[in-house]
Amino acid sequence: MTEVNEAPAGASSGGEDAEPLLSMRGIDKHFGPVQALYGVNLDLYSGKVTGLCGDNGAGKSVLTRTIAGAHQPDHGQIFFEGKPVHIRSTRDASALGIETVYQDLALADNLDIVQNMFLGRERLRHGLLDEDSMELAAADTLKTLRVTTVRSIRQPVASLSGGQRQSVAVAKAVMWNSKLVLLDEPTAALGVVQTRQVLDLIKRLRDQGLAVMVISHNLNDVFEVADRIAVLYLGRMVADGPAAGFDRQSVVEYMTTGAANGRPSEPAASASGEV
């Protein structure tokens, strides 16, 4: 895969043999006078969970939404499965197999689990909704993800617990042959038991070979599930590598100062040299 070989050290510094599912190279994004991202490089691998950390305003959401197609970068390139792509809309992202679970989940409380999972992509038969086939498919997806705590997949989402809602939102994202799932603060506002459910679910996604990116403030969660960790600081990618190369202390330092132990930052960040 030529792009990766030519790409800056980000990929190789991670010690990965496989080619990344998605690579971002030199992504710049500004809103008016405000520069949100400066030459960001990021690699996401199939079968790996990448934890994206950063303080408020570091650019996590902008980066996420750039991948999800909600923003277009001003400069830089995105490669998906080695091919350069332009993700101009969330529909483009979906077509590639990129699904995003936003923090607010975007579930309609009054609809049941099946209806939410198929919202916008309903199956039709003779022009009418094919409820039975959708219900079977939804049940199937929930079973493979081992989301078994819901009493009935025909109950309205309003009646679910926070962890169950998150599970439904994730299941909704992965049931479309997704290859990459972006999770924005999946455990915020969840209790201990439900956080556990969601973290287990993330691990299952990884075991099924999906690439997962988890945006989180909660370092406990990040260290629990992440195989790789990437840290944004004021719009710059200041660290990116296998989770084993970090400890809590260093991640916090990267998040708050952009450097750790006197080291300025990992190669991935400085390589673009556009700053």
């Binding site: 809103f31 008016g32 405000v34 520069q35 949100a36 408020n56 305003g57 570091a58 650019g59 996590k60 959401s61 902008v62 939404r65 909600a70 969330t90 529909r91 936003y102 923090q103 607010d104 989940l105 975007a106 579930l107 309609a108 409380d109 009054n110 609809l111 209806q115 939410n116 919202l119 916008g120 309903e122 039709l124 022009g127 009418l128 909704l129 409820e131 039975d132 219900e135 079977l136 705590t149 009493r151 009935s152 025909r154 109950q155 309205p156 309003a158 009646s159 679910l160 617990s161 926070g162 809602r165 924005d184 603060e185 915020a188 506002a189 209790g191 038991v193 439900q194 004021l234 719009g235």
Partner: protein, 468 residues
């Protein structure tokens, strides 16, 4: 560094946690024991037919759900019983429940039923259409004018369709204003209400204008007969058998098909009880309508045409709301517009269509109203203000939520019947000068009570009242 504090799209970070934290904790505890015992709290949230395996379980689960705050159509059914009993007692000669009066109420109610079903389309997406009464009346007048002879002399079907299309255009205009320019629908349709009320007087031909149907003309007689015409008693009973048979077969086959695919289906006994209930209600209506309610000179008996017409309207809208993408998206927008938007639903487009279809359906209600008033439209019979009050009241009393996302065509039917019963009951009383104010006060009071139930049941459930 990121603009405007991180995220407009991932917005509402505080939303789920704050309100539902308590409920969620409650539920986690419930879940922990759910598999063993099935405590009230969690059962109450799940539609009973999903878990029950026997009739007994079903009834118990339904009762728990009602106690849990989701009372469904129970309030409107109870209110109907109360209204029937009270008016039967207080009307002179205890005349309220006489077959002739009941049939009159059916006729009057069908207008409110159709209008309430129309309003439901807009209420579902958490909007409101206050112009529905005025638009309906204009629709009725247009249809009446188009069949006049001498005059336009259109075939009745063409006249009705033209009226519905015209109403649909009025609705679409208001929908576009509201959806594209993001003006609250309350304001747009309030303006529409006044505007169309004025236009109504113009098309009627002045403040004391009127338009009549000539029943000796067979073309005009069709529109006159929509409410006034009847089918023979024998045909009424045959129709009942066909309708109940159709509904029963559909329910039964549906349950059987789900069971075959290994999906949860209501127990057979529940399906059977439902079919029997439909048959009983239908038989009662037909029995009431087939009693001779005429005079000794001229016998009048049989089912009014309008009852099957309203059934068809309700059936079509039930199908559209529950089994098409359009309907699903209406519910989704009412439940969470942001979720619908991210799912690729065009919010502005859906809103415009909802208003257009609301107004078109309301136009049919307006035509029925003219037929109900013996084929005469005048500024006396046509009061758009009262009509819209009754319409919204009927929908909300029937169980349609003002906050969007909850409601069915059936709710409009039940609410319309209740409002029709109250409206006619008041007019039966010998109240003299009190009669007219009570025509407003009673439905207004019932509307407030219904809204109260709506708000309280929302608060009681884990769902949020936000995102209006």
């Amino acid at each position: 560094m990121a603009p405007d504090g991180e995220d407009p799209v991932t917005a509402d970070p505080g939303q789920p946690p704050a309100e539902t934290a308590h409920a969620r904790r409650r539920q986690t505890e419930a879940e922990a024991v759910a598999l063993v015992a099935a405590p009230d709290m969690s059962v109450a949230d799940v539609p009973p037919e999903l878990l029950a395996q026997t009739l007994g379980q079903y009834l118990r689960a339904s009762w728990l759900r009602v106690r849990g705050g989701d009372s469904g159509v129970l309030p409107v059914l109870m209110a109907m019983v109360v209204v029937a009993v009270v008016f039967q007692i207080i009307t002179p000669e205890h005349a309220f429940l006489r077959p002739s009066n009941l049939v009159y109420i059916f006729g009057l109610s069908t207008v409110y039923m159709v209008l309430a079903i129309a309003e439901t389309l807009v209420l579902l997406i958490a909007e409101i259409d206050l112009s529905v009464g005025a638009v309906a009346l204009i629709g009725g007048v247009i249809a009446f004018k188009l069949v006049q002879q001498p005059g336009a002399d259109w075939p009745w079907l063409a006249a009705i369709l033209a009226a519905l299309v015209a109403c649909g255009v009025f609705g679409a205009l208001q929908g576009i204003l509201s959806a594209r320019l993001k003006i609250p629908s309350f304001i747009v349709t309030l303006g529409g209400f006044l505007l169309f009320s004025g236009i109504l007087i113009v098309v009627l031909g002045g403040a004391d204008g009127s338009v009549n149907l000539n029943t000796s003309d067979s073309n005009q007689a069709v529109i006159y007969d929509l409410v006034q015409g009847t089918i023979t008693p024998v045909a009424s009973w045959i129709l009942l058998v066909v309708v109940v048979g159709g509904i029963g077969t559909a329910l039964w086959l549906r349950a059987a098909s789900r069971r075959r695919q290994g999906l949860v289906a209501p127990p057979k006994s529940v399906t059977a009880v439902r079919i029997v209930l439909v048959a009983i209600v239908g038989a009662a209506v037909v029995a009431v309508c087939t009693v001779n309610r005429g005079t000794s000179l001229k016998s009048v008996q049989g089912l009014p045409w309008v009852i099957p017409i309203v059934l068809v309207v309700a059936a079509v809208w039930t199908l559209v709301l529950e089994r098409t993408r359009f309907g699903r998206y209406l519910y989704a927008i009412g439940g969470n517009p942001e979720a619908a938007r991210r799912a690729g639903v065009s919010l502005a487009g859906m809103r415009t269509w909802a208003f257009a279809l609301c107004s078109a359906t309301a136009g049919l209600g307006g035509i029925l109203l003219g037929s109900f008033f013996y084929g005469e439209y005048s500024t006396n019979t046509a009061d758009p203000g009262q009509l819209v009050l009754y319409t919204v009241a009927a929908a909300v009393i029937g169980g349609v939520s003002l906050f969007g996302g909850r409601g069915k065509a059936l709710h409009g039917v039940l609410g319309g019947l209740l409002i029709g019963g109250i409206a006619y009951g008041v007019s039966l009383l010998n109240l003299g000068s009190l009669s007219t104010p009570l025509q407003y006060i009673l439905p207004g009071g019932v509307l407030l009570a219904a809204v109260l139930i709506d708000v309280l049941s929302r608060r009681g459930s884990t769902g949020s009242v936000t995102r209006v």
